[in-house]
Symmetry: C2
Subunit: 430 residues, 2 copies
């Protein structure tokens, strides 16, 4: 498939239109970033997006599906029942006809911000300083998401509508399971390409890891610390399990040295104990401790087999422990059971992206990235054969304090997306 390269003056007009709209785009991004759209609390962000689509003339599909009704979809996870339903908002522009269709997808969920005191600025009072916008979610991935919407606006402002159909999709659960992306595919949305503007620093994600989430629930019989037997503390028992999982992490990383995509990456697979809570009193031997964990897997790894290995590591460590041997921990699979993914067979949209990237940035590119994180692209590419590009602005400290996005890169990214739509979907002057 050849790329229909648009005329240089059209490109210049599109880039100028992005520039003209950029102050308004930053205001919109700031308003969107101010919404604390954490897991299970994404409603206001979805409302915001639905209103924005209505106001811009998109046809809006705003629906909620019971999670259990998604269970036949490839990539489904039940999150230990903790996500009873999934709401999504999809805007559609039917297009002027005869062009390739495109899904512009982005998630509205953000990860917890942690203690406000550890931020230099409040996490939900977005703030621009030295060309960066600060705020939880500004980088991951509200800036990219807003860029995609304003890219379409810029095309209109420049006097064009895309020929191919566009779906602008706002999803949840990207940070925890992918059930949002899965819900849109279950609804029947398909296109010739999917584009997800996660913060890639204007690079293209070539390969990404998968991830497995699990919660260790250590339980026992507590006592006054005066009667503490050795090894009966649920907190120290949890430490013992975490030590065994760190050994597993080292072994899996050693195996990764043979992987075609990850052999050059130092420590591609991370075990992370990201959340721990146990006990409630300094002088009571703690009888319970929960640890929420994440472990990476490589593209090509069988997730079910990796889960079995995690179970075996935990069971073996418990068997060696004086207290856990009688009271083994429960494992709850409460989120990601996600495959890794490598972008392949996407030459046509990649060529269109290369044209757009060079036109906007003046650089040949984009550069390939081998990611140690994951995105929703796997649902499109791995399970539905839809080429799925992940490309977006430059962010720092995502999932950390003082998360921020470089507004210069946001403007470039908006130009690239607009030009990509032009190349991929085609344009008709209005």
């Amino acid at each position: 498939m050849s790329v229909e390269t648009i005329a240089p003056e059209t490109r210049a007009a599109i880039i100028a239109a992005v520039q003209d709209g950029f102050a308004g785009q930053v205001d919109f991004l700031s308003e969107f970033t101010a919404i604390r759209s954490r897991r299970h609390c994404e409603g206001e962000a979805l409302d915001f997006m639905a209103r924005a689509l209505h106001a811009r003339g998109w046809e809006v599909d705003d629906w909620t599906v019971e999670t259990q009704n998604l269970s036949d979809e490839p990539g489904f996870v039940d999150c230990a029942g903790e996500v009873p339903s999934v709401r999504s908002v999809v805007g559609t522009l039917e297009g002027a006809g005869e062009g390739r269709s495109l899904i512009l997808q982005g998630h509205v969920d953000v990860v917890p911000e942690g203690p406000d005191a550890m931020w230099q600025v409040p996490p939900y009072a977005p703030h621009v300083r030295d060309g960066w916008m600060y705020g939880r979610g500004a980088g991951d991935m509200k800036a990219g998401k807003v860029a995609a919407l304003f890219a379409v606006e810029a095309l209109r402002r420049a006097g064009y509508v895309p020929k191919g159909r566009l779906h602008y999709q706002s999803v949840v659960e990207e940070e925890s399971s992918g059930l949002g992306a899965l819900a849109t595919l279950a609804r029947g949305y398909r296109a010739d390409c999917a584009f997800i503007p996660e913060p890639t620093g204007l690079g293209l994600v070539r390969a990404q890891v998968g991830a497995i989430w699990f919660r260790l629930k250590v339980r026992g019989r507590p006592a006054h610390v005066a009667y503490a037997g050795t090894g009966a503390s649920a907190i120290t028992a949890a430490m013992h399990l975490m030590g065994a999982l760190q050994e597993m992490e080292a072994a899996w990383n050693a195996e990764a040295a043979a992987h075609p995509w990850y052999k050059g990456v130092a420590h591609p697979l991370t075990f992370n104990a990201g959340w721990i809570e146990g006990g409630d009193w300094a002088s009571s031997l703690p009888a319970w401790c929960d640890v929420e964990c994440r472990m990476g897997v490589l593209p090509g790894d069988d997730v079910a087999a990796r889960k079995a290995r995690i179970e075996a590591v935990v069971a073996e460590a418990a068997a060696r422990h004086p207290f856990l041997c009688d009271t083994p921990p429960e494992i709850e699979w409460h989120g990601f059971q996600a495959d890794g993914f490598v972008l392949e067979g996407a030459e046509a949209p990649e060529a269109a992206l290369a044209v757009a990237h060079e036109a906007a940035t003046g650089q040949v590119g984009p550069e390939d990235q081998i990611w140690t994180a994951l995105t929703d692209t796997r649902f499109y590419g791995l399970y539905h054969g839809i080429p799925a590009l992940c490309y977006g602005p430059t962010a720092e400290s995502i999932h950390g304090f003082d998360e921020r996005v470089d507004l210069g890169s946001v403007q470039r990214c908006t130009e690239v997306i607009a030009l990509f739509i032009a190349e991929w979907c085609g344009l008709r002057a209005v």
Copy 2:
């Protein structure tokens, strides 16, 4: 000082009076145990005790002192400012004259109950089964506290009033700092003996450990787990510190093998990480982790020197750690900084207790106990030269789930306390 042993028929009348009042005592204990008097929430329990004292004709002193105004008292701790004030309720019966005075002290605070699901019965819906009352605080130490009040009632019912002055003291903070006992001493309450009916299984606490509480606050700069450098997780950093403190625990216990009172006790000093909280998301590298810790000390140990050793252990462990070496943890001393204590020079009240114990139980005793926990006795014995006896009923699973107290032992204990008052304070028939 010789013991004024009372007549056998008087004893029999007192024991009968305890029996007569016991059903009402169990009801009263049940009502008292139903109050969830956790740290910072002891008001309702103190109100309950003040009402009970008023109704029984005690003179009641119910006061609150700013904690900072206690700072000159021996044994003071500031709890990192987390206890701004201390309320106490003391009832006084002036006595018929010419007898030895007595403080009957007990704490109303209870430790957290943990998840309700781990109890067979709800922790604040006291329940009697097979002669045991179940409920948080039933054993530690509401049953003993109520026994002391009903012991005085039994004397009255038998037709006697004590010759010596009685102070019935309800205090807070026994489980965390001892500031309640300290507040009563600062108020000026003194007596010839203090008696604290903690659950000792009708034994006498001869020696008790001290304890030091401290909170480790590990802080760092977090990141998406994709960018996790080795050792940057606050949770794994906290695990590293806990490992170093467990090594310290082993060393201190090895030293304890030379202690005159504790050389025969296996593992007298317990390090306990009783409460941990860190991070908030499986896929975010945790940037903070707090651990509340308790470490025991022996009678004769210098608490300030032991605190310095804890600080050194934490500092050395931090210096060895790739992340903590630049960001050492904070240590907050948020509770106990308590000396150990050995009961010595209390021959007179011990003789009175032996008479009472034998009269009520038919056994020679009570047996000495070497405790690996602590009580408020240290304030009376160590800092004010008041002989302080700790003797009370039989409880199980204190600080654990399904905490319970043996009601048979509660009745025996009530008899012993009534007889002890008779022996110690003397009686006058009314």
